[in-house]
Amino acid sequence: MLGISRREMLASVSCGFGYLAMSALCGKHSFAAGASGIANLSARSPQLPARAKRVIFLCMSGGPAQLDTFDYKPQTAKKKHPGSVFNFAQHGQSGLWISELLPETAKHADKLCVLNGMHADITNHAQSFLQLHTGDRLRPRPSLGSWVVYGLGTENQNVPGFISIYPSKPSVYSSALLPPVYEGTPIGLNTTNMSTATINNIKSDHVPVAVKRRQLDFVQAMNREHATRRPDDVRLDAVIQSMELGFRMQMTAPELLDLGQETKSTLERYRVGQGKVVGTCKDSDFGRQCLLARRFAEAGVRFIEVNHGSWDQHKNHRADLTANCESTDAPIAALLEDLEQRGLLEETLVVWGGEFGRPGLVPEDKKDSTGHNARGFTFWMAGGGIKGGLAYGKTDETGARAVEGKVHFRDLHATILHQLGLQHDKLTFQQGNREFRLTGTEGGKVVKDIIA
């Protein structure tokens, strides 16, 4: 719940970002001065020189098995120990080890920075998933995407600045205590059929657009008169603006969501409509999701989250993991390929990972189930000023725990913000007497070694 009224927040827009940026530049300790955080989406310069303009977060929920995807653990001792059960090979000039389950992604090995030293605090899905998204595992806090849009605004005023495709629950795209304009717009939720999921009410053919425009003009004329008589209430102006954005969205968003203009080969490369349903692997038309992500990135959406699940292989580890990889491998490869080809990869930070990882299996052992492991797992990043072809960090010989190049979610957050030109310790929001930030009171460390 917001402790400050919308009125207070909007009232502060008058002094706006300029003032805030100033205060940041002048070395004031906070990005957002006082309760008067800004509440508008206009694009603004980052606090520091930025390497990336936007983020695509490929969120693999459930805890992807790192030892069978990116963290190669061959048998090293006489006695069999847990490790990788699928084959690995080295790829690209960098010779990055990648599992046989991801042949398409492997073609982009030199773009990837694989973080094998990830670690987190908790092995429960819900809490760790929330912490991955908001930095806090218990309470409602702003999502990473909300923080980013809060810091940078958005480039295209005709579409939302933060879009979450197939999110599992509102708490992971919530602006929470940040002003509500930073809330993520979900496309598809829970039960939605992802091959048709859209922004609710984005389209209606009940009357031609010209009539809708005429009708909206009438409404806005009344709204303006109403607001003029109530000059103190800036919420009313916010509604007027938001009606216009909604109207513009119905012109631009359906086109963005419509894959009809994509060529057949593109649709095939992304495997649109070819989702798999095997065990835990859900058909979420991941190809369509990735293609939408590319289109949103092109349109200037600041933060795009793409969800896939579930990577939670408590049973049938081998079969289900294979299905998850198959569903996501080609779409992700196509996305990386397209971003690069369009010159967008340099300015788009792509992040892949889930709320934790899994322990390894012993090859040739009959056991085919894996639990959760938060002490060591893998993320990867690509583009956005991150070094490609790099494996950073290490787990021990069984992959059970990170031992080198350890990166916590807080560090991951700090690093993502850093690439966008935002300082995690200065991107703050004040509520009452408390100052909030994504990396919390503990703070995070920017992983400098992976920055190109």
Binding site: M1, K169, P180, T191, N201, K203, P208, H226, M243
Partner: protein, 797 residues
């Protein structure tokens, strides 16, 4: 300063959780000479907090605390005792003798080298020297390592927290302009205004007041006739007319539908479990009975203390009739409708259910988040972990009945339900409601429920006593597998309630919990509720964080007024209707939301209540108002729920919503799958109590207004109704549209503008819709929908 506080709080956090992290050193072996925190020299304390603790947290804890992956040298520095007892090399210090203290030697890189990366700055080392010279004063032992109830200590830890102080009955302030006041409460607000040298704005005009009263009390707009009749009455009788209208509205069955919904927000009401973390979301086919119970309770003005008691311990109350027994059984649904995380691989499941119950009771009733104390002593509020487990024992001794849970044992094991005995319950016919679309595989796997009830049995969610009540053991760090000592069942130790009810060994203690919460001396219960009522009448509460009366909540803007109202509420029989009546008949409530610029500048946030706050209609009122304007609203209560016969997973069953024209409160409130007519406008997510909803302004809301089937359909029906009288001309019809949507006639310029819109749209649609009659409806629907989309329609002055 802020940074410092942050650091300290981090330290506290580390510390607090650390106590429960190692093999417990519970109070049994309490070391001697433990300094009493209350006796600690405040200057020494400041020194420790500023100079010592931050360094310990930053530089030492990573290896020398419970958080450390491997405890360095077996030395713990996150507890006073840990440092005193020392590690492999011996105690860390000799009190008063820095040169002989290992700690200082290590910091000086003399023999030992700590911290290992680089030595600390000389000044910091000197601080530690000073600290050891002082005798190593360390407040970190204030949290007892014991499950003993630390009454004095916690109260002392937060002596100044206002919400734990007894509720006073303040003297009514004297005001200069006594003639302005209608009610005693006005003297509290006016006194504050006068001392700030402000004068209240003018009274709301009767036409605005009547609209405000209708929305605030029953959540519906007045009809044109109702407005007219009030205005006429007001002309003759002024405040008597207002009082008459208020009494009429309070007596309306729609009152409970409005105020019941407010309570349902706080009761985190939902008709399905919500995502259990594994994507599964089973329906709660009987939850609607609790909804109806709440509506009825508000309509019958069940005294608030009784209302709470019914919800917490209704199954234990004596009942004069089977009807009464059933009613109080249904009331306990309050504790059963919570959202649960999946049972699968979750050893903490039972405690998760308990946690939800503690959370809803403590937040809804006391405005406190006790739930933090599950894993550690509350960081800031005086709520130690022991208190949490004292309450947990009560709920652990309670059996929660949620039913079949869509036959998803991985989500929740099946439980029985309350069987209602009286014959008058509505039981939705078996073929009514939504038809779930479940795939064959799921159907084939379906196991028969263990608890089978004959068709037509009226069932309810709720709670009952477990056969063997138990005390709860402290779950170290919130983990059910790491158990500490058990805590006798009880309540919050920091609330000074004399004659705390005793919990019998044979009872869970719920009845006593209710008794404790509703006792006259309870410092929060009445304050919290009065504040909630104020919030819904003013749009802003006296304590602006209605669910947080703790350290991080905001203090009341009018503490005396809050206490005055709380005392009145309690002494006037805990009557919610009476409380509302007093407030809306006050001058303060009846102020206009318009004011001059001076006032606005002097008090932009309206903390002094010199004017009323303009409010946006919430999701339910917006839909209800649209239906009222279009003439489609069915004012009868909706019966049952569209999922009353659906025991399935929402995520698999397809669309379970069925449109109807009853008021919004009767729509099916599935968690994480809200009714599409409401979901755009900030519904609470209903997994935790929400006293004050968000008010977002999003483009998706605009899209709902512009494009949703609901608005389009209602616009059409509205238009058809307007066109049904062939004798009227267009101007008269425009008049009617304005009256029905906005409770007023159009000004002449507005009339022209509306006619122009009709003309333009008609022209634009000529080719589109050639049939004149059909086109006419669409043309008028464009105007009708437009008025429903305006801010004037959606905001109340």
């Amino acid at each position: 300063m802020r940074k410092r506080i942050t650091l300290i709080s981090v330290a506290c956090w580390f510390l607090a959780i650390s106590f429960y992290a190692v093999e417990p050193v519970w109070s049994a072996k309490k070391p001697a000479g433990k300094p009493d925190q209350t006796k600690m020299d405040p200057r020494q304390r400041v020194f420790f907090e500023n100079k010592i603790r931050p360094v310990l947290v930053k530089k030492c804890y990573s290896c020398h605390s419970s958080e450390a992956e491997e405890l360095g040298g077996k030395l713990r520095m996150d507890t006073r005792d840990g440092m005193r007892e020392g590690g492999e090399s011996g105690p860390a210090f000799v009190e008063g003798r820095p040169n002989e203290s290992l700690l200082i030697q290590a910091l000086r890189y003399d023999g030992l080298e700590m911290p290992p990366d680089e030595p600390l700055p000389e000044s910091v080392i000197n601080d530690f020297v000073t600290w050891v010279k002082m005798g190593v004063p360390d407040p970190r032992a204030e949290q007892p390592l014991t499950a003993m109830k630390p009454i004095e200590k916690t109260a002392a830890a937060n002596p100044e927290l206002w919400s734990f102080q007894p509720i006073s009955d303040p003297v009514i302030p004297v005001v200069k302009n006594a003639g302005w006041c209608f009610d005693r409460l006005d003297q509290f607000t006016l006194a504050r205004m006068e001392s700030a040298e402000l004068t209240p704005t003018h009274d709301a005009s009767p036409v605005r007041l009547v609209r405000r009263l209708y929305f605030d009390l029953i959540g519906l707009p007045p009809s044109a006739e109702q407005v007219e009749s009030f205005l006429a009455d007001y002309q003759c009788r002024q405040q008597t007319a207002v009082a008459a209208l208020v009494d009429e509205l309070l007596a309306s069955p729609h009152f409970g539908e409005r105020w019941g919904r407010h309570w349902l927000d706080v009761a985190r009401y939902g008709e399905s479990n919500g995502n259990d973390g594994l994507g599964r979301n089973p329906t709660f086919p009987q939850a609607w009975r609790y909804r109806d119970y709440v509506i009825q309770a508000f309509n019958n003005d069940v005294p608030y203390d009784r209302f709470l008691t019914e919800q917490i311990a209704g199954d234990l109350l004596p009942a004069a009739s089977p009807e009464e027994q059933d009613r109080t059984l249904v009331a306990t649904g309050f504790l059963a409708i919570g959202s649960k995380p999946a049972k699968a691989m979750n050893v903490n499941f039972d405690m998760d259910v308990v946690d939800d119950q503690i959370n809803v009771v403590s937040t809804a009733v006391m405005g406190l988040s006790v739930a933090c104390a599950r894993c550690h002593d509350h960081k800031h509020d005086p709520i130690p972990t022991a208190d949490y487990y004292a309450m947990a024992g009560i709920f652990l001794s309670t059996e929660t009945l949620w039913g079949f849970a869509a036959n998803q044992p991985l989500t929740a094991p099946e439980t029985p339900l309350h069987v209602l005995k009286s014959k008058h319950h509505y039981v939705p016919p078996p073929d009514s409601g939504a038809q779930p679309n479940v795939d064959q595989r799921t159907l084939a796997r379906k196991k028969k429920p263990k608890n089978v009830y004959p068709p037509g049995t009226a069932l309810a969610m709720g709670v009952r006593e477990k056969k063997k009540p138990v005390d709860c053991k402290i779950n170290i760090k919130g983990e059910s597998k790491k158990l500490g000592p058990s805590v006798p069942r009880g309540f919050l130790s920091a609330c000074n309630v004399p004659q705390t009810p005793r919990i019998d060994a044979k009872q869970s203690g719920r009845l006593q919990l209710a008794e404790w919460l509703t006792s006259a001396e309870h410092p929060q219960t009445s304050r919290v509720m009065v504040n909630r009522v104020w919030l819904h009448l003013f749009g802003q509460a006296l304590v602006r964080t209605p669910d947080d009366f703790g350290v991080y909540g905001e203090p009341p803007t009018h503490p005396q007024l809050l206490d005055h109202l709380a005392t009145r509420f309690r002494t006037e029989g805990w009557s919610i209707k009476q409380l509302i009546r007093s407030i809306v008949l006050s001058r303060t409530y009846q102020l206009s939301s318009f004011c001059d610029e001076q006032l606005l500048e002097a008090d932009p946030e309206n903390k002094l209540l010199c004017r009323h706050n303009r409010r946006r209609l919430d999701a339910e009122s917006l839909r209800d108002s649209i239906l009222a304007a279009s003439g489609q609203l069915n004012r009868e209560p909706g019966l049952g729920s569209s999922i009353a016969n659906v025991d399935e997973m929402v995520n698999k069953a397809g669309n379970l919503h069925l449109p109807h024209q009853h008021r919004s409160i009767y729509l099916c409130l599935l968690r994480h799958s809200e009714p599409p007519e409401l979901s755009a406008f900030d519904l609470p997510d209903s997994t935790k109590p929400v006293g004050k909803r968000n008010e977002t302004t999003l483009p998706t809301q605009s899209l709902f207004l512009i494009n949703s089937d609901f608005l389009i359909e209602q616009g059409q029906l509205f238009a058809k109704d307007i066109l049904s009288n062939p004798k009227q001309d267009d101007a008269e019809r425009v008049h009617l549209v304005y009256q029905r949507a906005l409770n007023r006639a159009p000004e002449s310029s507005e009339l022209e503008r509306a006619l122009a819109l009709l003309q333009d749209v008609d022209t634009a649609l000529k080719t589109e819709i050639s049939q004149t009659e059909l086109r006419r409806v669409t043309v008028w629907a464009t105007l009708c929908q437009a008025l429903l989309n305006t801010n004037e329609f959606r905001y109340v002055d």
